[in-house]
Symmetry: C2
Subunit: 192 residues, 2 copies
């Protein structure tokens, strides 16, 4: 039960961060959204908002990476088609969730980049882990290490840029155009 | 003098938004950073924070678009080399400004996308204007309308994703890798 409360707090924090960012999310809103007494937030996270934020970002990042890799694995076997499929799925998720459900890290990462070095480091570790996981995908498809990292970076930046542009416009079109560009870039690197 | 104060308030707001976002920026911090009496913020922006935010985002967006187009115009004549040059310049600016000086819109755009529809619309208009300006660049280089919009979207998403990844890592490398990918994509669309 104690563990359940902790997880509810972490999930509520991630949802609120995704929706309105770090500065816009207070502990009071978190305890309400988690359906947990205010005191339990400090009980589970004696370090306060920053300790909670770090734990929540790490947990959300693991879940999100697993989700993205699942979407890619559930798509076509060919890596180029899987990427196309993944960006279409991301666009559809945006439409289905009224343009709320996007990267759980990006908003906070931009907010803290120049104002909270401890959390900045957490976001850097998360992005580094995601790039490593994408590298494995591209290495497995036959790319060399330097092209793999270049295309991992393109994949991640396109997904993040797609969330930014599609959420602002409330239109999945930027995400779809970006998926096409990433697919074309990977196909070219594979010599097709 | 009244106009000076108004401009100082707008510029200070843009700087604070860029550094820590919308929710993390209070009117008190704005009046301090602008070296303007607190009351003058409401005098110039009777609609309060949202009116000020909209005006500041629009002003910063115009300045930023002009800056990006200047950087591209100051680079090599060839559009592919100009893009490479532009991303190198963005990476260098990040290093020179201790990874603070980035897109003045993105942080706020993510924060408000699902929580403040009036400001969400302002960010959507800004991105749409930037994409139109980039379209003209690519149309002028000989691309058709559909490839122009696809590559404008890639350029903007790569720049935004590059700011996100490079600021988190405090490393210009992601921005440089993204510039290479955008340059390769534009060259391919031009049939090179």
């Amino acid at each position: 039960m104690a563990t359940d409360t902790r997880d509810r707090i972490l999930d509520a924090t991630a949802d609120l961060f995704r929706e309105r960012g770090y500065s816009g999310t207070g502990l009071k809103a978190i305890s309400t959204a988690a359906n947990a007494p205010f005191g339990s937030v400090y009980h589970h996270f004696p370090g306060g908002k920053d300790e909670l934020a770090a734990a929540s970002l790490r947990r959300a990042a693991d879940g999100y990476a697993a989700h993205v890799l699942e979407v890619l694995a559930a798509g076509p076997t060919d890596v180029v088609e899987a990427i196309r499929h993944g960006f279409v799925a991301a666009g559809q998720t945006l439409v289905d969730t009224d343009f709320v459900d996007a990267c759980p890290i990006a908003t906070v990462a931009l907010e803290v980049a120049s104002s909270n070095d401890a959390l900045r480091r957490v976001t850097a570790e998360i992005f580094a882990g995601w790039l490593d996981a994408l590298d494995l995908l591209f290495l497995g498809a036959g790319l060399d290490a330097s092209n793999a990292r270049r295309l991992s970076t393109l994949f991640l930046a396109a997904l993040e840029g797609g969330f930014l542009l599609s959420r602002a416009a409330r239109d999945p079109e930027p995400m779809l155009l970006l998926g096409e560009s990433v697919a074309v870039a990977v196909a070219a690197a594979l010599g097709r």
